[in-house]
Amino acid sequence: MRKTCLDMVYELAKADDRIVFIGSDLGAGTLSEMQKNMPERFFMEGVSEANIIGMAAGLAMDGFIPYVNTISTFITRRCYEQIAIDLCLHNLPVKLIANGGGLVYAPLGPTHLAIEDIAIMRSLPNMNIVSPSDAEEMKRFMNQSKEIKGPVYIRLAKGGDEIVSDPKNGFKFGESILIKDVGEVLIVSSGITTKEAIYASEELSKEGIKAGVLHMHTIKPFDYKSIIKYSQKVKLIVSVEEHIKNNGLGSAIGDVLNDNCYHKMPKLIKLGIPDQFPDKYGTQEDLLKYYSLDSKSIYESVLGFIKSKGLKAA
């Protein structure tokens, strides 16, 4: 997904001379072709995230569309004020390519794990957030990205993730994709947790339980209409996020249900990382299991609810 996203910046830049790339001393050889062929629109800056955001803002004020590439935690935590003021207050079309969203950098520990990035980006007016499920979907998003007027936070999973998106479903910024039809249950996911949600849904169907999967590739603006619509058809919504449970995908769903569905509210189970810094290393898969975000854990959460309520399978 990472390589596809970066390659797409070069592809977009070939067709549109407003597009510039700014890196933050990351990944030897990254976009070397672009560096060679478009030296005026390729910037590899120092380890200086605050400056890079301001510099991108200056370029965008003058009509350029900068794509900034760095690590999720450094672009969200360190230079939050620059993002809030230089990008969001001025509502500038700067795209933030955030490497290692979620638990990707498991072996590197909590300084590199982006577990609250969506929460803090989601709270900024004018910010947009996308979290595609795989490289193919990333490509579909990137083709639309330059048309988005304001700043965008693009959350990347790691490279080589399994392709689970279907080109037939297309991609429309701001509109979720119903990957599996709803029954009594709806699983809402984003990023690579959509893969886990699909597998859980397939296992549940073997038990006669029909669990829909709604892929929320755009987290802001939030597709509240789909949540309202499907909430009236199901008894349980399970949100699955590679993120702390506070103020991420699950919280967004909870807000929509609370504000709109008080007359008929399904149960909401939020699967996510507890309010603590990760205390284990290992791999992304290890941590997904540790925090009950893998397909088996999703399956068990749904099954547990169905059994406790004595609900019949579809």
Partner: protein, 276 residues
């Protein structure tokens, strides 16, 4: 360190301070000290140097001037009102609910304001981006970023300085309003900046220092930019915080004032008259 001589303000400098006090009276508050060290700097830029037209404030070929020390905005508002970017009557609504002139300047509301500033340490990076943009587009636009001495305590300024040096931005001029008094106390006590000129030089800037209230010296200096081809310029301007108001000069209590009464405003006006 550069020695400042005491400069007597001329009629135009007094008039521009009058306008700033009009804003101060409108809002009954404001950063008077921070604004009054800036008046001559902005006056020379807007009167003689900047290619900016209030009838066409968004012209792509204009020069860009960013007041990174956004709290000095009463000085900027004074110049922008004088140049008719907005009606002078807006000054009476400084900080009012329905005014366009806030306690820090906002680009989306005020014609002639390039960037919304107020949180310190942002302007130089934005200036780097604008200067690079002008180079890519082969435009002659120049970029001026005005910073406070307290402001350059921020690490982001020095990140931007490294970047400006790397990119050899000779269309970028960093201006430091060195009044030597930050919010709490003297810069020499809170966070000593010396040797300041050497710092900018070591980051790749060509540096000059003059008295920031001496209009002739400022004109001569700003007319000869860049100071050196292929280098960004840094201009360190020795100023007096609160210049023109004896009680405010060098007095940290006048960094920001609120709940200003009518009699205090009248006293400020009278004192300006005495300078004439």
């Amino acid at each position: 360190m550069h020695k400042s001589k005491n400069i007597k303000l001329d009629n135009r400098s007094i008039y521009l301070r009058h306008l700033a006090i009009k804003g101060l009276a409108g809002g009954k508050r404001g950063h008077l000290g921070s604004a009054f060290s800036l008046i001559e700097i902005l006056r020379v830029l807007y009167d003689k140097i900047l290619d900016i037209d209030s009838n066409d404030p968004d012209n792509i070929n204009r020069d860009r001037c960013i007041l990174s020390k956004g709290h000095g905005c009463l000085a900027l508002y004074s110049l922008l009102a004088d140049k008719k970017f907005f009606p002078e009557s807006e000054l009476d609504k400084f900080c009012h609910f329905d005014g366009i002139l806030g306690g820090h300047p906002e680009a989306s509301k005020i014609p002639g304001v390039e960037a919304s500033t107020g949180a310190l340490g942002h302007g130089l990076s934005i200036g780097v981006g604008l200067a690079i943009s002008a180079k890519i587009q082969r435009r002659n636009s120049r970029v001026f970023v005005i910073m406070g001495d307290g402001e350059i305590n921020e690490g982001s300024i020095w990140e931007a300085a490294l970047s400006a040096g790397k990119h050899k931005l000779d269309n970028l001029t960093a201006i430091i309003d060195y009044n030597k008094l930050q919010s709490y106390d003297k810069t020499s006590i809170v966070q000593d900046l010396e040797p300041l000129s050497d710092k900018w030089k070591s980051f790749g800037f060509e540096v000059e220092e003059v008295n920031g209230h001496d209009v002739t010296e400022l004109e001569n200096l700003f007319s000869n930019l860049p100071l050196k081809k292929s280098s960004p310029s840094a201009i360190i301007l020795h100023t007096v915080k609160g210049k023109g108001i004896k009680e405010a000069e060098g007095n940290p209590k006048w960094h920001h004032k609120s709940k200003i009464t009518e009699s205090e405003i009248n006293k400020l006006y009278s004192e300006l008259e005495l300078n004439l």
